[in-house]
């Protein structure tokens, strides 16, 4: 009953949204050029689903915008890829802060207010990413093989039921299995933290900004992003190759260069 009621509310909200023309925003752009030059640049790039891009500016920053009628488009993977294509094409010509896919605002006036309100934060963030590329590094391992190796290492300090329980029942067995599982998880996490430490030491000379996400899935143990100065790109790639050679048990996937998707820290309210 409660689910049905909430479902109907969601449907009503979705219907209301689909009837409104909105503005979709793609990126905050550092615009050293004139408004006309920027407009010409945006005319050369198509927005999602063939829409026309235009710029709204405040002082030396602008935002790339296009109209969006949600009844015309379905928000799916293809549109998300198209959105990324727009940001990628723009980033080839200007320094920008990508906006999260699916950010809509009601009108140009609201976007202008947003530029004024967050001007200092945008400018500061643009300086942080200027002349830099983002790279992504995913580290894979064979979960079964590696967790078994760690399990064997833990054997020497293996816990026994008698350490914790004076009786032996199905419920104490269950608790014991949970204790072992938690210890294994803690050991796996420690392994990943040591790997992060090792990567950070190798990259110390290049000094990139880094963000690490641990244990994304059982197989992807590390999902890292790096913000690297453009002139250190080759050195960075070579260093990752060295890290790969030093960790033969791990598989690495390095991608880039990307616009600085993971290094925009501004929350628009």
């Amino acid at each position: 009953m409660l689910f049905s009621l909430l479902s109907l509310i969601l449907i009503a909200i979705e219907l209301l949204n689909s009837l409104t023309v909105k503005k979709i925003i793609y990126a905050i752009i550092a615009s050293n050029q004139s408004h006309t030059e920027l407009s010409d640049l945006l005319k050369g790039v198509q927005g999602i689903s063939g829409s026309t891009l235009y710029a709204l500016s405040f002082n030396d920053i602008s935002v790339a915008v296009s109209d969006f009628t949600s009844s015309k488009f379905t928000m799916n993977k293809e549109v998300a890829i198209d959105f990324a294509r727009v940001i990628e094409e723009l980033s080839e010509s200007v320094t920008l802060l990508p906006i999260r896919f699916g950010t809509f605002l009601k009108s140009d006036e609201i976007i202008n207010q947003l530029l004024v309100k967050h001007y200092d934060s945008f400018l500061q963030n643009i300086k942080q990413v200027e002349n830099k590329y983002e790279f992504g590094l995913k580290v894979f391992w064979d979960y079964e093989k590696c967790s078994e190796q760690i399990r064997v290492k833990l054997e020497s300090e293996d816990v026994k039921a008698s350490d914790y329980f004076s009786t032996n029942t199905i419920h104490t067995d269950y608790l014991l299995s949970k204790i072992k599982k938690h210890r294994l998880e803690a050991a796996l996490l420690k392994y990943v933290e040591q790997l992060i430490e090792e990567i950070s030491q190798y990259l110390a000379q290049i000094n990139p900004d880094c963000k690490f996400k641990k244990m994304v899935t059982n197989t992807i143990i590390l999902d890292a992003v790096f913000l690297v100065e453009k002139n250190k790109k080759d050195e960075f790639i070579q260093t990752i190759e060295v890290i790969k050679q030093q960790n033969a048990d791990l598989n690495l996937l390095l991608t880039g260069p990307w616009p600085p998707y993971s290094f925009v820290d501004i929350v628009i309210d």
């Binding site: 689910f3 909430l6 479902s7 979705e14 928000m75 914790y164 996400k213 996937l253």
Partner: protein, 114 residues
Amino acid sequence: MNENKILLNSVAMNEFEDEIEKIENTATSRINATPDNASHGLAKLVLTLIELIRKLVEKQAIRRVEGGSLSDDETERLGETLMKLEMKMEELKKTFNLTDEDLNLDLGPLGDLM
């Protein structure tokens, strides 16, 4: 992924595709909210929050057991309760056709909930 973006790859392509598919499935279920799957989405949200609380309770319980502060009777009841809770969660996941990977929330800059 655009192939010219891959700078170094020692991952078997099928393994890579499997993992990306797992991540994509989570993202797709978030994007494709339709009237037909709205109640499924609500069930997923509610079960995710319950799973978070269950895991917190489990961690706290293990800490107490390892600390040796519980009597035999308390340990027995705790084990029984946690076991039943996990079984109940498995039942609910089957009912709503959800997997462990589904029971998570992307909190943006804060990362995943679990």
